[in-house]
C-alpha cells in the first residue's frame, strides 16, 4: 500500500513536473498573445477616444475614462495613454524598432506618457505611414509598442491593420468617408508583473 502510494506520488510529481516543463514555453506564447479587432471612433476631431484594457482583453466604456480600468485609447489615428494629461492611471509607452516576436522583455528605459493634449507620448508618424489625401494610414511593420499598463503591468503590442469602416465595421472605400477605424493588433499581456514576454 505504502509502496503503491509512493509510486503514485512519484508518478504524480513526475507528471506535474513534466507538465510544468511543457507548459512553460506555451505560457509564453499562447496564454498571453492575442490578435484582436478594435473598432474606434473614426473622427479626427470630435467625440470620445475608444478605450482598451489589456486586463479585460477588449474595449472599456468611455464612462470609465476617469479610472484605471483602461490602458490606452484611440480616436482615428491618435493614441492616448492613461496617465498625466490623459487619465488618472500610471500607464507608459514606448515604440521599439523591432518585430513583435523579437521583443522579449520591456526594458525599463525610454518610457513616455502624455504630458499635454499636444505633447502625446505617441506621434502618428512614429508608427504609421499616413496619406492625408487618400485618408489612409498603414501601421509600419517592425514597430512594437511596449506598454506599462495603468495598473503597472507590462504588455507589448503590434499594430497590423487600420481599415476605414462604417459604424458597423464594414470596410468603406473612397469616396465614402469612414466613421470608424477598425484596428487589428496583436498583443501579449504579462499579468505576473514581470517585464518578460
Amino acid at each position: 500500500m505504502k509502496k503503491s502510494m509512493l509510486i503514485g506520488a512519484t508518478a504524480l510529481v513526475f507528471l506535474m513536473s513534466s507538465c510544468k516543463k511543457d507548459e512553460t514555453p506555451d505560457n509564453k506564447v499562447s496564454i498571453n498573445e492575442k490578435t484582436v479587432e478594435f473598432l474606434v471612433n473614426g473622427s479626427g476631431r470630435f467625440g470620445n477616444y475608444t478605450l482598451f484594457s489589456f486586463a479585460v482583453g477588449g474595449g472599456v466604456p468611455s464612462t470609465d475614462s476617469n479610472s484605471t480600468k483602461w490602458d490606452f485609447g484611440i480616436r482615428q489615428a491618435t493614441i492616448i495613454i492613461n496617465n498625466a494629461s490623459s487619465g488618472p492611471g500610471s500607464a507608459f509607452v514606448k515604440i521599439v524598432d523591432k518585430p513583435f516576436q523579437e521583443v522579449t522583455s520591456a526594458k525599463l528605459e525610454n518610457f513616455k506618457y502624455d504630458t499635454s493634449v499636444t505633447q502625446r507620448a505617441i506621434k502618428l508618424e512614429e508608427w504609421a505611414d499616413y496619406n492625408p489625401t487618400a485618408r489612409t494610414f498603414s501601421p509600419i511593420a517592425g514597430k512594437t509598442f511596449v506598454f506599462v499598463t495603468a495598473t503597472g503591468r507590462y504588455a507589448k503590442l503590434e499594430m497590423l491593420k487600420a481599415e476605414p469602416t462604417d459604424d458597423n465595421g464594414s470596410p468603406v472605400i473612397p469616396p465614402t468617408i469612414p466613421t470608424k477605424i477598425k484596428y487589428t493588433f496583436r498583443y501579449a499581456y504579462q499579468q505576473n508583473g514581470t517585464t518578460n514576454f
Binding site: 513583435f100 505611414d129 485618408r135 517592425g142 514597430k143 491593420k161 468617408i177
Partner: protein, 710 residues
Amino acid sequence: MKRYCSISLIGLFFTLNLLQAQVRSSDSLTGKDLEEVVVTATRTERKLGNIAVPVNLIKQQTIVQSGSLRLNDILQEQTGMVITAGTGSNAVGGGVFGNGIQMQGLSPDHTMILLDGEPLIGRQGGVMDLSRFAVGNIKKIEIVKGPSSSLYGSEAMGGVINIITEPVQGKSTSINARNGSFGTTDLVLSGNHAVRKMGLYYFGNYNSSSGYDLDPATKEKTLDPYFNLTGQIKLLLNLSPQTKLNLSNRFFHANQKSFYAVNSKDINVGGAGITSEYHLNPLLTHQFNSRIQSQLRLTMSRYRFTQSLDLLDNRTSYYRDDFMQGFYRAENQTDIDLNQTLHLTLGGGFTLHTIQTNRYKEPKQQQVFHAFMQSEWKFNPKGVLIGGLRYDHNTDFAARLSPKLALSYNLHPRFKINASAGGGFKAPDFRQLYLNFTNTAGNGYSIFGANEISADELNQQKQAGLIAVVLPEASLIKTLQPEISTGINFGFMFSPAQRIRWEINFFRNDINNLINYIPVGINNNGNSIFSYININRAFTQGLETQGTASFKNWEITAGYQFLLTGDKAILEKIENKKLYGRNSPLGNARLMTLNDYSGLYNRSKHTAQLRLFYQDSKSGWGGSVRLIYRSRFGVQDIDGNGFANMKEEFAEGMLQANATISKKFNKELNIQAGINNLLNQTNARWMPNLPGTHWFISLQLFLSHKTNKQ
C-alpha cells in the same frame, strides 16, 4: 536585372541575325509608316523615319477601326502606354475617374498632353482625365517618349502626347451615330468646307452613358451617369501665298450626377459635377523666304470644375468644390534653314497661369517666360544630330534650364540607331504652392502649400497659441524647386522589308526633387499639419519593343514593355536593413530584401499588346482584334513600408480582349459593331474605369466625299 540584360542580348542577337539574312537592296529605310510626317519630336515637320527619339504614331484609321470613343480607349492599346485609374478628381468622389496616362513608368502628371501643339489644362490632382477628349476629330496622335522639356517645358518629363485634329481641307460632311451597352449614345457631326482662300472645319459630339456598377454590394454606382458635349471649329485663312491664319477653338461641357451613401445604408448625398472647358488658339504662319518661316501662336484656355453635393432629405449643402484654371500664352517660333545641313529652330514666349478655387486663400497666378533653341545638323547623309536647350523663368519658384541631345544614324539602309539624353522638369503645381486646406469633415489635418507657410510663420503661430507644436522638419519648408529628371533613350529600328518594321528602345529616367508632403507641426486638436517639400527620388527603366508587319489587307502589331521602377529612399532603407514587411496582413514582421521590392505603385512590370487589323477596300469588310495585357501592380500599403510586397497589396494582372467588325456599303455608309473586354475582366476597387464586357453598334454616313489634297 539579370533578366533585363539577357533580354537585351537576345534582342541584339536577333537583330544582327535578321540583318544579315535580309540585306538585299540598298534603298533607304522605308517601313510602311516611315514616310509619315510627324511634328511633335522636333516642333518641325519631319518624316517619322528620320526622327532621333522614340515616337509612336496613331493614325486615324487605327482609331476608327478600333472603335474608340475617347482618348483613353485608343491610348491604352498602344505599346508602353498604361491608363491609370487613380482617384483622379479630389472631390468627394470626383465627377469622373482619373483616366491618366503612364509612359515609361512615369506618372500622369509627368506627361504633357497637347492639342494641335498647345498644352491642355484642367488636371485634377496632377491627372489629366483623358476621357474628356473625344476622338472623332483626331487626324492622328503623335507620342514622343522620353524627356522633352527642351522643347515643351514643364510636364514633358516622361514625354509628350500631341493630339492632332483634322486639318481644314476639302469638302465633306459626315454623321456618326452609335449605341452601346450601359445606355451609351454617341453622336458626331463633322465637316470640312474649303472655298478658295479660306476653309472651315467643324466637329460636334454628344456623348452620354447611364453608367455602370461593378460592385453591387455598394449602393453607389461605379460610374455615375453623365453626358458631355464637345465642339470644335477651325478656320483657315490664306492671307497671301506666304501667310496663313489658323483659328481653332474647342469647347467641352460635361455633367455628371453623383450619388453617395454617406454613413448610411441608402443613398443620402447627391449632386452634379460640371466640367466646362474652352480653348482658343489663333496661329499666324508666315514664310519669309525659302529658308525662314515664322509662327505666332496665341492660346487662351479656361477650365472649370464645380461640384455641389447636397444631403438629399433636407437639401442642405454637404460638399462644395469650385476649381477654375486659366492658361494664356503668346509664343513665337522661327525656323531657319541655315544651309543644306543645318536647321535652326528658335522660340520664346510668355505664359500666364491663373487659378481660383475654394481650397486656396485667394486667386493665384504665375508668370513664365521661356526661350528655346534647337539645332538639327545633318552631319552626313546617314546621320543627324540634334541639340536643344530651353530656359523657363517662373515668378514663383526657381528657374530651369532643360537640355537635350539626340542622335540618329543609319548604320545600314535598313537599320537605324537612335540615342538621346535629355532633361525634363515639372514645375510645382498650384496645390503644392498654394493649397490652404483643413479637412473639417474627416481627419482635421491641415495641409499647406510651400508658399502658404514657413517655419517662421509656424513659430509665430505657436507663440500666438494658434498651433501646439512646430516639428523640426518645418525648417525644410523653402522655395520649391521643380521636379527634375534626366532620361536616356537608346534604341534601334530595323525594317527588313517595305512592310515589316521592328523597333526596340531602352530607357532610363532618374527623377529627383519629387515633391511630397511631410508633417511640419501639430495643431491644437492634436492633428498633423502638413506641407510640401522636394524630397523623393525615383527611377524608371526598362525596354519597349514593337514589331509591325502588314501584308495585303492585314496588319499585325505586337508590342511589349518591361519596366522596373523604384523609390531610391526605400531601396536605401532595404539595403541598410531598416525596412520590415509582412507576408500576409496578420503575419510576423520580417526584414525586407531587394527581392521583395516591387517598385513604385501602379506600375506593371510587364505590359503587352497584340493587335490585328483587317480592311478590304473591295468588299468593304473590315475588322480588328486587340489583346491588351498588364501584369499585377502594387496598389496599397498594408504594412507601412511604402511598397507592395504581400498578395493583398497588389491588383491582379489583367487581359483585355477587344474586337470590331465593319462593313462599308458604297462610299456613303459604314456600319461597325464591336465588343470590348470580351473576357469580362474587372476590378471594382483598383480599375473602376474598366467596365465589364460591353458592345456597341455604330453607323457612319458620309454625305459628300472627302477630297484629300494628297
